[in-house]
């Protein structure tokens, strides 16, 4: 077990190195001059050379790459924002917790609503309740998050005035972004849990459990659920990555100060260091979630350990 976790954890390192290399290379070769952007295209030769040297942009590609990694590993330093001149790390420390919180609440909501409704839907297949859940989840699966955001702002902010439409001033500001970024995932988790549950419930071992005299509730909780959750966990993991990474559009609609809006601003301003740092951080989060999913697998399904 420990060996399995360590093995999977070590796999994160080469993955991250590849990510850094690819991002760094793409950014390096992308047209656009951060120094010029910094001076708003109004600079002297000396000013330019001085800034380029300060940021290390006068050095060859490989040297820049090695320096970049060295600074991250030794000093947790992602360099300076070419646009604002501030340290990227300071920007990340204010933005990332916001997105992380938004993401974690969304994932929790997804699991707490999606899984139970999937189970209810499966255990009462073809009942009005099942049709209701299916209809609602298909509806939300089809509705894009940003549209939901706009409609919610229209109703709850403009019309009713219950919730703040933008910014992050109190906990109520989380409500709409959380709903907008999780609605689609709740819908797909519900659908996945339902179909997975329906498949498991037809298995022979469920019949064996019933033939033992196990009550229906225990059959579902103890015998069916754990087996049915195996594919659901994969899906939750994938979605958790996407949500924590921050939905740029939803954050933009709500003017929510998370990673998504930071990323959008950085891209618009050719702020390479910030782009690199954001992408790197998000890849790290995805890697960690995958690691977590792998560990949860072992816990749920004893057959995984053998491989």
């Amino acid at each position: 077990m420990a060996k399995y976790i360590i093995k999977n954890a070590l796999m994160v390192i080469p993955t991250m190195l590849c990510v850094v290399f690819i991002i760094f290379t793409i950014n390096y070769f992308t047209p656009g001059d951060p120094v010029a952007v910094f001076y708003d295209f109004d600079y002297t030769e000396e000013q330019y050379a001085e800034k380029a040297a300060e940021w290390g942009l006068d050095q060859p590609f490989f040297q820049q790459f090695v320096n970049y990694i060295k600074n991250i590993v030794t000093k947790l330093d992602f360099g300076y924002s070419y646009y604002s001149g501030k340290s990227v790390m300071s920007e990340l420390t204010t933005r990332f917790p916001v997105s992380l919180k938004l993401g974690l609440i969304s994932v929790a909501l997804t699991v707490l609503i999606g899984v139970p409704f999937g189970i209810i839907s499966a255990t009462r297949q073809y009942s009005p309740l099942d049709y209701g859940v299916t209809f609602i989840s298909l509806f939300f699966a089809a509705v894009p998050g940003f549209w939901l955001s706009m409609i919610m702002i229209l109703i709850f902010s403009s019309r009713l005035g219950w919730l703040p439409s933008s910014g992050l001033t109190s906990w109520t500001c989380y409500i709409m972004p959380v709903i907008a970024s999780s609605a689609q995932y709740i819908a797909s988790i519900t659908r996945q849990t339902r179909s997975s549950m329906l498949e498991v419930i037809r298995q022979d071992y469920i019949r064996t459990a019933r033939a033992k005299g196990v009550s229906e509730g225990v059959v579902i909780r103890r015998h069916a659920l754990r087996n049915a959750l195996i594919p659901v966990v994969t899906l939750i993991g994938m979605q958790a990555g996407a949500v924590i990474a921050g939905s740029a559009i939803i954050e933009a609609v709500h003017s929510f100060p998370g990673m998504g809006s930071l990323m959008m601003t950085a891209i618009n301003n050719k702020d390479y260091n910030t782009i690199q740092a954001v992408v790197l951080l998000l890849s790290g989060v995805v890697c960690l979630i995958n690691l977590l999913v792998d560990i949860v697998y072992v816990w749920i399904d004893p057959r995984v350990n053998v491989r």
Binding site: R207, T208, K212, G213, V214
Partner: protein, 328 residues
């Protein structure tokens, strides 16, 4: 003394979108305490459906018991509440399923799977149940320390032993063994049958052994019932069926077994196929394949005729005197 289990004119139908499947059509049989009944028939004859109805575990929808009664220890199982049925399942009547590869829950340790049934039916502590579960494992020939392993760590034959341990853990009065050896290697088959036999004698459990293997029946059963298209065509003691088979279907079954003494080039199967259960033939269900069928067989449902005490047959040829039929 009243029989342990009595099926009276039991009928089961599956109501599917492709039509109504008449799976079991008015079967009656009795099982006494401690005795072994072999329920023989081709795939699709309704054997498993009959067994599942006894436990009231038919997949519903689409399966429904539409007629008849199932009496167990003098009480009708069809009148029991779901809660009362749960106390019977696994406790007084248990079942061994055909495919051991899929019959055990892959994510629960086998010891726990055995302990679960004990904990449900006996009022004992969890630790005690676990201890007894390991005893059961030893009883079926698996070392107790393997109780903490998962089903995927066992071979097919071992899994079937675990399934048997689960089925017999609460010393049930009746065991329904649904083709318990079909999915196993021939060498393992013999071991598993031997094991069921031993435990059954030890625990005084009556058994309905569902199989399509007449060899297995000859080895283990004292009574036999032959099913065809949801009906019991012939039933009686082992000797009645094996030495004095009367129904043309039973005779056909025995003739289709190749003999060791004779040198045969071709097997002698019963011509034709099992009828489509959504459109069963009129009259005798076997008439389209029966070499003796005449006009009457096409329209008249044969009644049950008792040839000798306990030897029942459902064929028009034996109505009004067996002698006439024997002459042919």
């Amino acid at each position: 003394m009243e029989p342990l289990l009595e099926l009276k004119d039991l009928s089961v139908k599956y109501f599917t979108s492709d039509g109504t499947v008449e799976a079991v059509n008015g079967i009656s049989l009795q099982v006494d305490r401690g005795e072994t009944l072999g329920l023989v028939g081709e795939t699709g004859a309704g054997k498993t459906t009959a067994a599942l109805s006894i436990l009231r575990l038919l997949p519903d929808p689409p399966g429904k018991i539409v007629g008849g009664d199932i009496r167990f220890q003098g009480e009708s199982l069809l009148e029991k509440t779901e809660k009362e049925m749960r106390a019977i399942r696994g406790g007084q009547i248990s079942m061994i399923f055909q495919d051991p590869m899929t019959a055990l829950n892959p994510v629960i340790r086998v010891g726990e799977q055995i302990a679960e049934v004990i904990l449900l039916h006996d009022k004992i502590s969890k630790a005690e149940a676990e201890r007894r579960a390991l005893e059961m494992l030893e009883l079926v020939g698996i070392p107790a320390e393997r109780g903490s392993e998962y089903p995927h760590q066992f071979s097919g034959g071992m899994k079937q032993r675990v399934v048997i341990a689960i089925a017999l853990a609460c010393s049930p009065a009746l065991l329904l063994a649904d083709e318990p050896t079909t999915a196993l290697d021939v060498t393992i088959q013999a071991q598993v049958l031997e094991l069921i036999n031993q435990l059954q004698e030890k625990l005084h459990t009556a058994t309905i052994l569902i199989t399509h293997d007449l060899g297995v029946v000859a080895e283990t059963c004292s009574k036999v019932a032959v099913m065809y298209a949801g009906e019991i065509m012939e039933s009686g003691s082992l000797a009645d069926l094996f030495d004095r088979a009367a129904h043309p279907y039973t005779v056909g079954l025995f003739q289709s077994i190749p003999s060791l003494e004779e040198d045969v080039d071709l097997l002698r199967p019963i011509p034709g196929l099992m009828p489509d259960p959504t459109a069963l033939p009129q009259g005798c269900k076997f008439h389209p394949r029966c070499p003796y069928a005449d006009e009457r067989c096409r329209t008249v449902q044969p009644p049950v005729e008792e040839l000798s005490p306990g030897h029942l047959v459902k064929c028009l040829r034996f109505c009004g005197g067996a002698e006439q039929a024997q002459e042919e």
